[in-house]
């Protein structure tokens, strides 16, 4: 049963600390998305990759957030330094897209629940 996995599932940290979240997309999927969900803002797209290349990170605060795909089996989202307003659930999702295709089904991981004190 192929699933997107995310680690850690929960993270409590203090303001100013670095936070790294990891995602393993479903094997064979070529698009990876990072979302943030809060009660106030709902689900926001932070960044996404296709074939490991970053396509859009316009939703991400550039000064403190960074997203990378070191290889096809790992995507990372890093916050440095973290702030209390970063407290949220961060979801990774993966999908299989075809050249010229548009927005096929996304498969979500269980999320990382981040609390910055």
């Amino acid at each position: 049963d192929a699933r997107v996995t995310q680690t850690p599932r929960h993270k409590v940290t203090e303001m100013g600390q670095e936070v790294t979240m990891r995602c393993q997309p479903i094997l064979g999927h070529n698009t990876v998305f990072w979302y943030r969900q809060t009660m106030m803002q709902g689900l926001e797209l932070l960044a996404y990759f296709r074939n490991r290349a970053p396509l859009d990170d316009s939703g991400m605060p550039k000064d403190r957030f960074s997203a990378e795909m070191p290889d096809a089996t790992l995507a990372t989202l890093k916050i440095q330094p973290s702030e209390p307003r970063d407290s949220a659930v961060y979801f990774c999702a993966s999908g299989l897209s075809y050249s010229g295709g548009r927005g096929e089904t996304q498969y979500f991981g269980p999320g990382t629940r981040l609390l910055v004190l």
Binding site: L55, G101, G103, E104
Partner: protein, 112 residues
């Protein structure tokens, strides 16, 4: 910015009843998808309807799409307690590649 908006924001029904929620969007779309999120979990894809389709079924789910009105509806028939969740519509805007724009969701509570 959100492309889709669900209506109502919240819905409470008795087990066995049908639940209907709507999604309106603003610009031309390639396809529209519905997802479910149980409390504290990731979103789960329910159904995808393409812009050239008008209706689609999957088990107890029925989705309609009216591109002239820029709206879609999700009907859950014979609801069960396990259907208690938030439901989101998501659209792909023609001018944007691959990414989805999610609405704020409809929270459905099914009472036993």
């Amino acid at each position: 910015s959100q492309q889709g908006e669900e209506d109502p924001q919240a819905l409470s029904i008795q087990e066995g009843e049908n639940a209907t929620m709507n999604c309106s969007y603003k610009t031309s779309i390639n396809n529209l998808q519905w997802y479910r999120q149980n409390s504290g979990r990731g979103l789960v894809h329910l159904i995808l309807i393409r812009s050239n389709e008008r209706e689609k079924h999957s088990g107890r789910l029925r989705v309609t799409l009216d591109t002239s009105k820029k709206s879609s509806s999700l009907l859950i028939t014979a609801s069960r307690a396990a259907d208690t969740a938030s439901y989101f519509c998501a659209t792909v805007i023609r001018s944007n590649d691959y990414k989805l724009s999610f609405g704020a969701g409809t929270t459905v509570t099914v009472r036993a």
